[in-house]
């Protein structure tokens, strides 16, 4: 408001009154954010602080924690104490699961980008009426129940599922190919789950693309490929980064997909963490594992903030 810079004498009494009213109501308006902030503060932020504390405590035998300081949870992440001579042995089991999950998330992000970019571009170049239909068709799976969608994949790739039945009937194979509970199943499930998360931010960025620049490039004798790589893709970089992040972060922490399609055999970080709170009965370890995942997510977010002007897109 410019009123603050004007001297009061230049303002009429009414205007002054109005400015005052706007100001007080503006200050009162601030308080309106309080209920949301309090609820998220108590039931969202405080729990995160609690797991930070828990990660430095000792596990109680039947789940929960004992209030006794310890860094065992973090040590246990990389080492295992030898039962006989009490030395620390380097045990990379958890690290391997983290690296596997990272690899899954990276492959998911890349394939989603390779499929999602052409799709988003195609959508963005449709006439407006058609565009709306495309957006709705991509939005529906974006919001649909992930558990049910994962179940749908499971039905298809089971030993007695549609793919195997079809191949058997055609005589291509004589016994079913095992796909469920393999790495392939998890990878497929992740792709299926997160593809819409890539397409929507890409679309919202490509929709704003200034096609006069494309035209200019063609006028300067650029080939289609050059236009794509040197004009369209650089211009849609914010959308590409947002899309990659929206796929990478949930894929890294995926829980439902490996739970159903990995069958507890092929773990990802998400199941590993949940396991510590279930059959593992080691809450501090689970908290430490969750915080290590959180750190990875923060690195990704930091990368995102550094590479964009700081406007978060939500599809």
């Amino acid at each position: 408001m410019t009123t603050a810079t004007l001297s009061p004498t230049t303002l009429s009494k009414a205007a002054l009154f109005e400015a005052q009213a706007v100001k007080t109501s503006a200050r009162r308006n601030r308080l309106l954010s309080l209920p949301a902030l309090i609820i998220i503060g108590i039931f969202g932020v405080l729990p995160l602080i609690i797991i930070c504390v828990y990660s430095f405590l000792v596990a109680a035998p039947y789940g929960g924690v004992q209030w006794q300081f310890s860094t065992d949870a973090y040590l246990n992440f990389l080492f295992q104490r030898d039962i006989f001579d009490d030395t620390l042995q380097f045990t990379p089991d958890f690290l391997i699961i983290y690296l596997r999950s990272f690899l899954f998330a990276v492959v998911t992000t890349i394939i989603c980008l390779l499929l999602g970019f052409p799709t988003a571009y195609f959508m963005a170049t449709r006439p407006p009426a058609q565009r709306n239909w495309w957006v709705l068709l991509i939005t529906i799976p974006f919001w649909s129940n992930l558990l049910v969608r994962t179940l749908a994949i499971m039905f298809i790739i089971r030993d007695e599922g549609l793919i195997n039945n079809a191949l058997l009937a055609l005589g291509v194979i004589d016994k079913p190919i095992t796909m469920l509970y393999t790495n392939f199943a998890i990878q497929l499930g992740l792709l299926y789950a997160f593809l819409p998360f890539m397409v929507l931010p890409l679309y919202s960025s490509l929709e704003k693309l200034d096609f006069r620049l494309v035209e200019a490039a063609y006028d300067l004798y650029a080939t289609r490929r050059q236009v794509l790589w040197r004009v369209i893709i650089p211009l849609s970089k914010p959308g590409i980064i947002a899309g990659c992040l929206l796929v990478f972060i949930p894929a890294l922490g995926a829980y439902v997909t490996p739970l159903i399609l990995g069958g507890g055999v092929h773990l990802m970080i998400g199941d590993l963490i949940a396991q510590q709170f279930g059959s593992g009965r080691n809450w501090p370890l689970g908290c430490a594992q969750a915080l290590i995942l959180m750190a990875a997510v923060l690195v990704a977010l930091f990368f995102y903030v550094r590479n964009t002007s700081g406007k978060v897109q939500h599809g």
Partner: protein, 270 residues
């Protein structure tokens, strides 16, 4: 605009086929799941004929009833509370002069979107275990309602805030010029214009709560089975097309609410 040359420069070879493939990949598995809910055979994979029996047996199932009841109690309450909070917060963060801590408040509101769900799940579990252990406090199904409200707020907040930002401020100024009190200006001008945003936000909040599995599974106590948890319990038993029928019902609810939210949001946009 529609002259052929302009359309031509926008074309990239092969992009159409990839787009169509994406759409097929996204929809075929779900469609197959839905089709098999009509299968008259008792196997999930062998097609024998068309029947609606599985819907009948699903809807008559006692466990399904109690799961559906829990789900509705949780998601309706969480939707109402989170939509009210989100609406107030959106006004408190757009209709104000920038205040110190605004950026931080914005981050807090969006926090549940940035933290992976499994972390929120175990953190919430630890939190409720702690207050149950220390203060003997257990809100029963209220635990789930509170957990859901937290992650519903940012989803409700987004469309409401977008609507507030798109709104023509001159209308509110005009009301003030005509001696409307701030409350009257809000009630008679801002709120009616905001309704589509609120509806769209409430629809999204309802979907995410209705569909939530990860957080619910970890936080739910005994007897607090929701529909997604019920499906998960069914997967681990010998499966019949009943599970397809229930899954289809869940999908249809999602589709209905997404479409409603989408259409409301579209109508205001153009």
């Amino acid at each position: 605009m529609a002259e052929p040359r302009v359309m031509d420069i926008k074309d990239q070879p092969g992009f159409r086929s990839i787009a169509v493939i994406c759409l097929l990949v996204l929809y075929i598995p779900v469609l197959i799941l839905m089709i098999f809910s009509l299968n008259s055979g008792s196997l999930v994979t062998h097609w024998e004929g068309v029947t609606l029996n599985w819907y009948g047996s699903a809807l008559l199932n006692e466990e399904f009833h109690s799961a559906a009841k829990n789900t509705l109690i949780i998601s309706v309450t969480a939707t109402i509370v989170s939509t009210i909070c989100a609406t107030l917060a959106a006004i408190g963060m757009t209709r104000v002069k920038p205040w110190r801590g605004l950026a931080a408040a914005f981050m807090v509101i969006n926090l549940p979107l940035m933290v992976p769900e499994i972390i929120t799940a175990v953190a919430t579990l630890s939190f409720f275990a702690l207050i149950a252990g220390t203060f003997g406090l257990n809100f029963g199904i209220g635990n789930l309602i509170l957990a859901h409200t937290v992650f519903c707020i940012p989803f409700a907040y987004m469309p409401i805030r977008a609507r507030l930002e798109d709104m023509d401020l001159t209308l509110e100024y005009a009301a003030a010029d005509l001696y409307a009190t701030p409350w009257n200006a809000f009630k008679r001008i801002t709120l009616p214009l905001l309704v589509p945003g609120i509806m769209s936000g409430a629809a999204l909040a309802f979907i995410v709560s209705f569909d939530d599995f990860t957080i619910t599974q970890l936080v739910a106590g005994p007897g607090q089975t929701t529909l997604p948890l019920y499906i998960w319990n069914q997967i681990r038993r010998p499966m019949t097309p009943e599970i397809n029928a229930i899954s289809t019902i869940l999908l249809l609810v999602s589709i209905l609410f997404v479409s409603v939210s989408f259409l409301i949001a579209r109508r205001r946009a153009k």
